[in-house]
């Protein structure tokens, strides 16, 4: 398996992938035109021809037979072209000592606070390949890319996690809030943002702060909570240093988690090494390995070990990376020690 930048020849495979996702992935809509447009931008991005506000680092996961089985992306900066909205979950306290009243009312403030940060987005792995190191490779390859090219990214990296919705795709938060202002289904609103129709959010959403006591209990219960299917991703990102700082999605109230770029474990702990090809041995642990290139970026995950300033990998791994002994790589253990292997 290898993670590499997307190419226009991947388009048919991408459309197949998009069709296999349900509601909730706003950045991978099953719209051919839109996907083609996006791939075009990604190619420009990797060539270094896009301004940061427009950059879209879209990667694919490709197996050894050349089949595309997953995607992941980094938006170089959110909110520099159109406003980027979140709710900040704040607090209103209503209190009177005299009347022995003390009430805490979580309050949602519409904010553009996360503007300018980079975003990990569009992660999707085909169901048949959700095993082994694939998921971690697909997600964390982005972090290693960020480690190699920090100047292309913002001071913080954010990730919006899919919020709670039921089997039919109904979000309790949307039903209690968004529906009153949009008069459309969650999946439709979700689709519209996915195809880049974000301006309508600004035009239709409530601008004043919202006292959560005016939302249904079901809606209040899901503020800042992730969809069950997203919990593994949340756990993984938390282990990398991401944390919830009170920002949630304005549609489904899923958490937007964040980490200072340099403090992401896979960024902070990564190192530039010389590649050695040989036998990693039985005590080798999985490493994330990047060929340190941008346009011809290739990242893989494989057992490796340090030996005298080099990283020893087996010949198959070197071949996947299209490198030979003596070439430069950037590498980091695939998982933090406490996350296990």
């Amino acid at each position: 398996m290898i993670v590499r930048p997307v190419r226009s020849s991947d388009l048919p495979a991408l459309i197949d992938l998009a069709r296999s996702t349900g509601a909730g992935l706003t950045t991978l809509p099953a719209n051919e035109e839109r996907l083609a447009h996006r791939v075009g931008w990604a190619e420009k991005t990797f060539r270094g021809e896009a301004e940061r506000g427009d950059t879209d680092y879209l990667f694919v996961l490709e197996d050894d037979d050349g089949r595309v089985v997953g995607i992941s992306a980094i938006a170089g900066a959110v909110g520099l072209r159109e406003p980027w909205y979140n709710y900040r979950v704040g607090l209103t306290v209503s209190a009177s000592q005299e009347l022995n009243i003390y009430r805490e009312i979580p309050t949602l403030f519409l904010a553009n606070d996360l503007t300018g940060n980079s975003e990990l987005c569009s992660l999707f792995l085909h169901a048949d390949f959700r095993n082994g190191l694939n998921g971690r490779l697909l997600s964390k390859a982005r972090m290693l890319f960020i480690a190699e090219f920090p100047e292309l990214f913002g001071a913080k990296i954010i990730a919006e996690m899919r919020g709670m919705s039921d089997e039919q795709g109904h979000s309790p938060f949307w039903e209690s809030l968004g529906r009153h202002f949009f008069k459309m289904e969650f999946s439709q609103a979700d689709y519209l943002t996915g195809v880049g129709n974000r301006a309508f959010i600004a035009e239709l959403m409530p601008k004043f702060p919202l006292y959560s006591c005016f939302l249904s209990q079901a809606a209040r219960d899901v503020i800042g909570r992730v969809h069950t299917s997203t919990e593994p991703a949340l756990t993984m990102l938390k282990a990398e240093g991401f944390s919830y700082q009170g920002y949630v999605d304005i549609f489904d109230a899923g958490p937007a988690i964040e980490c200072e770029t340099g403090k992401i474990r896979a960024v902070r702990d990564s190192q530039a090494l010389v590649l050695a090809v040989g036998t990693p041995g039985d005590d080798a642990t999985p490493f994330l390995i990047h060929n340190r290139k941008r346009e011809d970026c290739r990242v893989t995950a494989a057992p490796a070990r340090f030996a005298a300033g080099t990283l020893v990998v087996d010949p198959k791994t070197a071949k996947r990376l299209r490198l030979t002994a003596g070439d430069q790589v950037r590498a980091v253990p695939l998982s933090p020690a406490r996350e296990g292997v």
Binding site: S94, I101, F181, A199, E203
Partner: protein
Amino acid sequence: MLVMRPAQMADLSEVQRLAADSPIGVTSLPDDAGRLGDKIAASEASFAAEVSFNGEETYFFVLEDTESGRLVGCSGIVASAGYSEPFYSFRNETFVHASRELKIHNKIHVLSQCHDLTGNSLLTSFYVLPELVGTLWSELNSRARLLFVAAHPERFADSIVTEIVGYSDENGDSPFWDAIGRNFFDLNYAEAERICGLKSRTFLAELMPHYPIYVPLLPDEAQESMGQVHPRAQITFDILMREGFETDHYIDIFDGGPTLHARTSGIRSIAQSRVVPVKVDTVASGDAVKGGRPYLVANSQLQDYRAVMLELDWVPGKPVTLSLAAAEALGVGEGASVRIVAV
């Protein structure tokens, strides 16, 4: 005869009897001797004060049955709403959330807390005994206040407002309160209104939400109760609507009842009342005049302000003929003048 006059401290126990029966929500009539005593004292001072523009004065009137000496109603005017502390209302606002691209055009109704009505004069404390509800005596109890305003315009603001008690059910629960205020206090509506009466409305209002409230997020029952009048307040509402008060712009922040407002000079009893000279008929006995129609009749005094309702056969441009009893009740004699308006 029923005579409207300024309340005196001697009326306290009778006033408390009226207050005890007034509905929840009329916080200007707390069933509390201390507060009512303060209210009467403030009123007496206000009637006695020399005033050149509206300030902190509060005027409190009672309707007395002169035969029995019993009180059958009361009403009041606060010269300046929010004089010593902020006066809160919810203003009905509409925001249009529109997207040309998506062909969506939503009118969103929002309630914004405001102090817009601060400084307006405020009609308060209306109460009549249940047997007088729906009779013309209710008109006397409410509108004689307006004749007082007409006689002493310098004491009042250019606009007059009044808060009508909103809808609450037989158990004293208000759907509007339950949807809004209750979240911030964890008190039921009756308890909250009791605290309002004993302390002040501002005291609780300051604990209320300060950001605007999106009406579509409120439960249906709360939305329906916005601007709804409590059955027992319907009479007050109807009288003032006939006087030309307007509704729909403001509602009460606690129970969602309508707040009425009007330009003082445009209020019917003020605009249409006439000051006419008095002739006293010493021959006829009793109040009723054959072929007459009911009028509210008031003198132009302050502490000795009196107003009554009489059947009169009055021709515009001519003096008004009062029976001796009526003239005595009003404290006027031949050659004095009175302000009259048809009921």
